[in-house]
């Protein structure tokens, strides 16, 4: 009997013939924390009897959520994190490096790895065929110390995507559509596996956007096969030797299959205050926006910067809109400068932030005022998410966000493209 990608990876890492529903103890290949979960994780680690890392080379600390720090307390948390890195010799990615999930994709994740991070969007690395999932501080502290964790092997929902995205439509619209379809708890405890002819040719930056939001349907992991796209992505990053192919078996057992026709998708928007509260952009009516935010681990990649740049080039954003753009990593930031993308965005009226999580979680760099509307390319629109429970957050693609910055209202990008 064949296996899903989850069953294959967890069998390999636990040393048993793992099937959906089994409880396994799995080796962990990479463990990481960020600056808002790291201090508690380090304290949990230090309250354990064994206070050495299983692998300092495969333990990473990221300063990205409050970067650079907006407050004395967070600056002190950063000191605490840096001291732990110095004590243990583990990897440290300090302020300015970028969002943990983007750095993990660029530098650390390998197909077939088991990755646990003290951040729910750890699922992002599923795009590269890694069993990557978010956990809390206690679990991550134990994984740091023992180099292993326990899992219930998830059942898998297969998402079969066929056809081609039409102009103005892309990965973000697909994942918003899917979350709207199955709900914010539609995949709780489950794995999502993406397959189909649209996936075969889907570039890594789109796969990363989709896997990133698997958690917004409750999923444990959002997996893509490790294929020629993964191989080329790793090769381009100078990490080609980390590649191995991973495909689901043809006779693997799926809990169910959901078919999505890419051609039929339209630009999607998630309305406040849940990610599954979706609709098609053109049906929204007249929603004026105060702030447009393009960035984050969902849509802060080079291709997002390119898309925003091409829409905004030689134009001016609407007078009532603040446009905040944040490349997800130093590499993306640098490449966006070289390509002229940031210049186009700045000349259109945009504000460029240093690589990091920026305003996504409401700490700084774009906190909303009362009743203000933000159209964001991030992954969450929960009440209070951007620092104010009276703020209203809509989620959409980079194309929809950049277009809306020009018009001042949430706009289907096909009106302009």
């Amino acid at each position: 009997m064949g296996k899903t990608i989850s069953e294959k990876i967890l069998s390999n890492k636990s040393g048993i013939d793992a099937r959906a529903g089994d409880i396994v103890i799995s080796a962990v290949d990479l463990v990481f924390v960020q600056d808002t979960t790291g201090p508690l994780t380090i304290r949990q680690f230090k309250s354990g009897k064994k206070q050495t890392l299983a692998s300092s080379a495969r333990t990473a600390l990221f300063i990205d959520h409050a970067s650079p720090s907006p407050s004395r307390q967070l600056s002190n948390d950063h000191i605490f994190i840096r001291e732990f890195a110095a004590e243990t010799g583990c990897l440290l990615f300090d302020a300015g490096c970028g969002v943990c999930h983007q750095i993990v994709a660029e530098k650390l994740a390998r197909p077939g790895d088991v990755i646990v991070g003290a951040d729910s969007h750890t699922v992002t690395a599923g795009a590269m065929g890694a069993f990557a999932t978010g956990m809390g501080s206690s679990d991550v502290a134990v994984a740091m110390s023992l180099g292993k964790t326990w899992f219930r092997v998830p059942e898998t929902i297969r998402i079969e995507v066929t056809g081609k995205f039409s102009k103005g439509v892309g990965a973000k619209d697909l994942i918003l559509y899917l979350i709207g379809l199955i709900g914010a708890d539609g995949a709780t405890y489950k794995a999502l596996e993406f397959t189909g002819n649209a996936v075969d040719s889907m570039p890594m930056w789109q796969r990363l956007t989709i896997s990133n939001m698997a958690i917004e349907a409750g999923a444990k992991v959002g997996l893509f096969p490790s294929d020629h796209i993964t191989r080329e992505y790793l090769k381009k990053l100078g990490r080609g030797n980390g590649y191995k192919s991973i495909f689901t078996d043809p006779d693997a057992i799926f809990e169910r299959t959901i078919n999505v026709e890419a051609d039929k998708l339209e630009p999607m928007v998630a309305r406040p205050h849940t990610v599954d509260n979706t609709t098609i952009a053109k049906s929204l009516g007249d929603i004026k926006v105060d702030q447009v935010f393009i960035g984050t681990c969902t849509n802060g990649r080079l291709e997002d910067m390119a898309e925003a740049s091409s829409i905004l080039k030689n134009k001016k954003i609407h007078a009532d809109v603040r446009l905040i753009v944040c490349p997800a990593s130093r590499k993306i930031y640098s490449e966006s400068i070289n390509a002229g993308y940031l210049q186009n965005i700045v000349e259109a009226g945009g504000i460029i932030l240093p690589p990091g999580c920026a305003g996504c979680l409401g700490l700084h760099q774009g906190v909303l005022g009362d009743k203000e509307v933000c159209l964001s390319t991030a992954n969450r629109n929960f009440k209070g998410r951007m620092g104010n429970p009276e703020g209203l957050i809509y989620l959409a693609s980079t194309a929809t966000a950049a277009t809306s910055a020009l018009t001042g209202r949430i706009t289907d990008p096909r009106e302009v493209l």
Partner: protein, 168 residues
């Protein structure tokens, strides 16, 4: 947990209570000062919660409680507020695991008949929730054995310190 009977009053919440509603990201600067952080527990869902909650009380919610972030501070501030168990129709995966890892019972049960202010008595061993106010009883879904062994030790770190390893 021995023959523990949990007793307290209900604070009722709806569906999809996110970790941002439980403890907002904007308070991340207080995460190394847990007593201060805990003063903001459930703030954006019920601003009066922290003023009214008493040791032993229960949080009772609808479906998908704790969706969103992996912040373990979410069950931690609920525990620090004195809550003795969280009851919901369903939990988000990471929150459920975090609650057990903090030694906080997270019980899956039907919650529609339980109202704000009801008095409950919960026997974790018997798997019974008694609604004293309404003279009703409900059962909850058994906590998986692997997680029960962690809960019974008071959380994951105490479990590992006692057993030295994961032995599920």
């Amino acid at each position: 947990m021995g023959a523990t009977i949990l007793k307290g009053r209900v604070f009722k919440f709806g569906d999809d209570i996110s970790t941002d509603l439980i403890i907002a990201g904007k308070y991340a600067h207080l995460r190394s000062n847990l007593p201060e952080l805990a003063k903001h527990a459930m703030e954006d869902a019920n601003p009066d919660f922290i003023k009214l909650v008493k040791p032993g009380d229960f949080i009772v919610a609808g479906s998908n409680f704790g969706l969103g972030s992996s912040r373990e501070h979410a069950p931690l501030v609920i525990k620090m507020a004195g809550v003795s168990a969280i009851l919901a129709k369903s939990f988000a995966r990471i929150f459920f695991r975090n609650a057990i890892n903090q030694g906080m019972p997270a019980l899956i049960c039907p919650t529609d008949k339980i109202a704000d202010g009801d008095n409950l008595e919960i026997s974790l061993d018997e798997g019974i929730i008694r609604n004293i106010t309404r003279n009703e009883s409900y059962s909850f879904t058994r906590i998986p054995a692997a997680m029960l062994s962690i809960l019974n030790e008071g959380g994951l770190i105490p479990y590992i310190n006692k057993h030295g390893d994961l032995k599920l």
